[in-house]
Symmetry: C2
Subunit: 323 residues, 2 copies
């Protein structure tokens, strides 16, 4: 399928992005780079963010009313924190074009089916999606066209969804550089609870623990009779802590909504983690070196698997290493 002069035809005519943060603005850039749509429209709640988006010139049109953004769109992608989905879906429903596809980029999929599904009119396709990609930065200025390259995008179409609509959205994500996989929303939520949601929760926890402790360490040090800088914990973060701080700098509202909307799976994974942590804690207290060592040897293999699977590396570093 090619357009005039041999260039590939756009996959969609008009794409509407509802929300223009890290993910939405990266999509806008990737769509434009690949000429994947004839027109990229966007709407977002905050007038200040709309002004930012206008200034960045990454969309063809930025709308003050959500119905104007989605009107005549062939693909509408919800890119807002998932807690806002129900309200946004209800607001845009009257303006959706028959034959259009509604999708999203949320990190939880059962909640999206629950919140958005009932608002999708007859004749409009509904294909929830989740690009497994991100950085610790947020806002329209933080996006970049390469964000999705070599990353997975998981689609969770309800049973009976139009096959052409799924195939078209698959080609769309592939054209942005992603590998696409289709799965059941419940399975998605369990896999992501352990690969993403629990790691984020743990990183948020320890960074908070450390922040509190900093004051405590400082007081102690003064009692020792010497002056210690406030940022001693920051100073020595290269020993491992800094890897957690990057994850824990991710968007607070987005992550609040993830935990509230994938509660069961996150609590289950957290329970497993806490049991294992208690076992290692006990091994440390009782000096059980062999138990610790055999656990640590086992964890090496999974890293090797990740390196081999081509998922190694870290969040895209958008800031240079300074020093």
């Amino acid at each position: 399928m090619t357009g005039k002069r041999g260039a590939p035809a756009p996959i969609y005519g008009r794409v509407a992005l509802i929300g223009i943060g890290l993910i939405g603005s990266s999509m806008a850039r990737a769509i434009r780079r690949g000429k994947l749509a004839r027109h990229v429209a966007c709407w977002t709640r905050s007038a200040a963010t709309r002004d930012k988006a206008r200034g960045l010139k990454i969309c063809d049109s930025v709308h003050d009313r959500i119905v104007d953004a989605v009107g005549d769109a062939d693909l509408v992608v919800l890119c807002a924190p998932i807690g806002a989905n129900a309200e946004l879906a209800a607001a845009m429903a009257p303006a959706l074009k028959p034959g259009a596809t509604v999708s999203d980029v949320g990190s939880v999929k059962q909640a999206v089916v629950r919140d958005v599904g009932p608002h999708v009119p007859e004749g409009v396709h509904f294909v929830p999606g989740h690009p497994v990609a991100g950085t610790e930065h947020s806002g329209p200025e933080s996006g970049f066209a390469e964000l999705f390259e070599r990353r997975w995008c998981i689609l969770t179409p309800p049973p009976g969804t139009d096959r052409d609509a799924v195939e078209r959205l698959t080609r769309f994500w592939q054209a942005m550089g992603s590998r696409v996989e289709t799965m059941d929303p419940a399975h998605h939520d369990r896999v992501l609870a352990i690969t993403s949601h629990l790691p984020h929760l743990i990183a948020y926890t320890i960074v908070g623990t450390v922040t509190d402790l900093e004051d405590h360490l400082r007081r102690e040090a003064v009692e020792d009779g010497r002056l210690v800088e406030r940022n001693e914990v920051i100073k020595f973060s290269a020993g491992g802590f800094r890897d957690f701080t990057r994850i824990a700098a991710s968007d607070p509202v987005m992550w609040r909504d993830v935990f509230l909307n994938n509660r069961e799976a996150v609590l289950e994974m957290l329970g497993r983690f806490s049991e294992d942590l208690a076992a290692l804690q006990r091994a440390i207290r009782w000096g059980e070196g062999e138990k610790l060592e055999s656990w640590f040897i086992r964890t090496r293999d999974i890293r090797r698997g990740i390196v081999e699977a081509g998922q190694a590396g870290t969040f895209k570093a958008t800031e240079p290493e300074k020093g």
Copy 2:
């Protein structure tokens, strides 16, 4: 202070490295690059590792007997897992030269003072040290001369230590690119427990939890009637998990010894972390969105502090990102 033809004079005549893994072999390379010693000798327990070190040609001499390595050395640096320190210190003590300095690179300092201190003969200086730098790789082939650049090295000399010996070792680490700080061993162990030891323990825990769960998720998927690849967790690791796997691939014996030898501080920090995790768990269970959001907002600031302090970035990536 310059040698002939204006080149800086070596800081030490002969340096003996006891252990030649990631840290020892990086020191050997950095010493040679900077011409910081006239001779680098090394000993390590395993004959196979000694052969590797010989093959890499990163030392001037590799010895089968520890006394031959330390004889006539001006600086002896213990670079083995800290659980081996007492035995190694006893074995090398008879061969130490008066006026020499004994140091180490261990991640725990009170245990080094306890295990090595009693074996250091009269007339030999004892200046424990800890370069806060590393990667998840181990063995002599994994070292590189730049490992210590812009990283902190913490020295914990006992009260009354010869000032010239401390000053000389400080210059040595600075010449390898480090920033040097001196502190009390107990304070070091508490600061590192939170900035390094606890993060490693948590990463080891979650990677183990996930490994167990992989089988479970696979069984479930088969029950759903579809085939799922064994490495589904690995596949979607870009969502956060992979950052933990890198840390959890660190040397198992080294880390076993760290936890066994900094037990009190690690257990204390772990207690604080567990309390905070329980509080967030409760907030998720009860749907307390505001509590979650305010916690997540707070953790952003510390990341900004780390970026400003020039300690951002990740472990040196010695493997390219594939995909």
